[in-house]
Symmetry: C2
Subunit: 423 residues, 2 copies
């Protein structure tokens, strides 16, 4: 591949960092010169004798190191270290979706100035090749939309809830015990992790900078086994879907929320911790990628794939390839969630008496909400009826107005859930 | 992307060539200088005024043309034209799997000498990014095996046979009428098309040159609705599977044949003309790609993606990137089909009398064939019984010996089908 030895510095030696050390052992020409860790005395399950440091600036300032791998996570001190390394002319490989989602534009801008590469295949979809294929193989396409399951923890929880008819809280607890969910599960469960990844993908696909705070984000903690069962009866699974599309006016619709997915769509059959992405391009149509979205070795596979890509270029080029840089500068205008258009699944608890469906239908009609289906069959304790409405596509604000009107009716006891339908 | 105009020559203006012309219209800096066709007077559905020629050497010899797109198909005269173009220093983008499978090594060798790129993303899986991701994003992996549905026509036929409980010949006829199958369907139906594609992928994955004639290849014309129904009862679908793996002794197991695929495997849910590939790497585990395996615009998307990749490099490099060349020179040793190991589905027609299952079991035992399942329930006309055996993994030669022994028994009326089980 290359004859000279290339020195690599690694920031962080957690699960992914350890995997990177393991995979890099295959390559004689790639030498790990230093690894920055918080605690140099901690026992590690890889042989890293003599190369640990608790001072990360020993890496970012080392003139012999040409590639810095950032696998520490979080934005602080990762942002400072990555930008320091770039200022010192080092190429960056990172798996840090939060860093890129929150500070990406500053990092890319600096990298362009300094003519270094910033690669981040591992930041989305773990080991699944997604970012390079989108930038290169699909480059001849105008990408019109994408949708994915980008968080393994929530997909594991939803899969288990479905298979075992269990409550969210119980499955989450079990997942935490098994190590599939973090002790603080907020970032996964509330959709933030998926939103970080989606902002990275949407930014590549549509060529705009995306403010992570503009992305509508709703987690899965409100999903119940009842909703999963009704969705199944209607021909759908419930998944945490990250979706993005570009509108005719170049506004972006970018959001993460639970959604009903038709069982015939490839995303419906993605189970457990697997991640998947469907991309729609004007020429190619629909292509699907799936595989392990996390894990030590899959993520390390993506990190080292990026290192090898940089090494190939270093041998060859005077300038870093355009596909290794981010050149777009326009900020995206994101469609507010109330202006987005979806089909909806709405579950009500109502008094069981004549006219209930009628008044719901009237309220929907008053706000231009057209119904695709109605289910009423289960009685609840206390003589209440469970009613499911499935709507045609409608602007979210209209749906909300209809629901508000229905909730005012004396027969309505609870708006038990409102879930968008993906496809 | 680039400021200077880059001149492109296209060999062939069939379905794919026309798509390439359409997609290239997006790019001001990419100019189609000439298109070689057999008949310059034929009416075309793209605007190509003044650039048609019936002399392809006008393209391969034109010093202004730097990229030649070969979308004529077949090996003759494609091989001569492509090698002529390479000798004249032109980069090549081709969608021609047959050419690469049969003459690839000579072409790659010459391209390496002349320091030009030969890219061929469109040759496998139409618009699905497969080749670049394998070469780049998965570069840190030792790929251990792969399996795919690489031919849309046969997958369409098998899907229809399953959905409509129809015979192969009837569905083939319908597919021909709809244009999903060629007037001469041999290359698709007998698995040759899939074998061409598999040889390209296996060569990249394992780093050996593969003689296309060494690939065991069996088509789908023997598959019946009866087999599809029994397979379904056992938890499988029947698909034309192209599979390749590398053994501990570096021999390759490379073959194309119908196979039972567990309904839980992603390949089982690939329906219609969709193509899919599952790749197993030592670090990444399993990743899956799927999408449109053919068609004008998807294939054109891949061709133009390759053109753009070359253009990016032309701007930048003195030498063509290693990932755009093929550097391996060793010829693969392919495991003969009789030495491969599979589970098997075998369907017999037998006399319906006591001891039939017993003698089958004995014959299997005599040759070390262990049974995973037996079904006997349908009676055929003439008092015969239909018996299905499902075996554990066994060397193909042992299975064949057991079947030979069973066929000698007076109660055995017909070995109705033998189908390998993929997974």
């Amino acid at each position: 591949m290359t004859d000279k030895i290339i020195n690599i510095g690694i920031l962080g030696l957690g699960t992914v960092g350890t995997g990177v050390v393991k995979v890099l052992k295959k390559y004689d020409c790639l030498k790990i010169k230093k690894i920055a860790v918080r605690n140099t005395n901690k026992k590690r399950d890889v042989d890293i004798e003599g190369i640990l440091t608790d001072n990360p600036f020993e890496i970012t300032n080392d003139p012999d190191i040409s590639i810095v791998v950032e696998v520490m996570g979080g934005t602080d001190p990762a942002f400072q270290l990555v930008t320091d390394a770039i200022r010192n002319g080092k190429h960056i490989v990172t798996a840090n979706k939060e860093l890129l989602a929150k500070r990406g534009p500053e990092i890319y801008e600096l990298a362009r100035e300094k003519n270094v590469a910033v690669l981040y295949e591992a930041s989305v979809g773990g080991g699944i090749p997604i970012i390079m294929p989108m930038k290169q193989s699909l480059a001849a396409n105008k990408i019109t939309s994408m949708a994915g399951i980008l968080n393994g923890t929530t997909n594991y929880i939803l899969t288990k809830m479905e298979q075992e008819n269990s409550e969210f809280a119980d499955v989450l607890k079990e997942a935490q015990e098994l190590g599939y969910a973090e002790p603080d599960p907020t970032s996964d469960v509330e959709g933030h992790d998926a939103a970080y990844k989606l902002s990275i993908l949407a930014s590549i696909a549509f060529g705009y900078r995306i403010n992570i705070n503009d992305i509508y984000c709703e987690g899965i903690s409100n999903i119940t086994p009842v909703d999963i069962a009704y969705a199944s009866e209607l021909g759908y699974k419930i998944k945490l879907i990250a979706m993005a599309s570009i509108k005719d006016d170049n506004k972006l619709d970018v959001r993460v929320h639970p959604a009903l997915v038709s069982k015939t769509h490839p995303l419906a059959s993605i189970n457990g911790v697997t991640n998947a992405l469907t991309v729609y391009g004007d020429a190619v149509g629909q292509v699907n990628f799936s595989g392990p979205g996390a894990g030590q070795m899959p993520t390390a596979s993506a990190v080292v794939g990026d290192i090898l890509a940089i090494v190939r270029e270093m041998d060859m080029t005077v300038n870093v390839l355009p596909s290794m840089k981010c050149t777009h500068k326009l900020n995206a205008t994101i469609v507010p969630i109330e202006d987005t258009v979806s089909k909806f699944y709405v579950r009500f608890n109502s008094l069981d008496q004549p006219g209930v469906i009628g008044h719901m239908g009237m309220s929907c009609g008053n706000h231009g909400v057209s119904l695709l289906g109605v289910i009423q069959k289960d009685m609840l304790l206390g003589g209440q009826a469970r009613i499911i409405l499935l709507t045609h596509e409608v602007k979210e604000s209209a749906l909300r107005a209809a629901i508000d009107e229905i909730s005012l009716h004396f027969s309505t006891k609870q708006i038990a859930n409102v879930i968008r339908v993906f496809r």
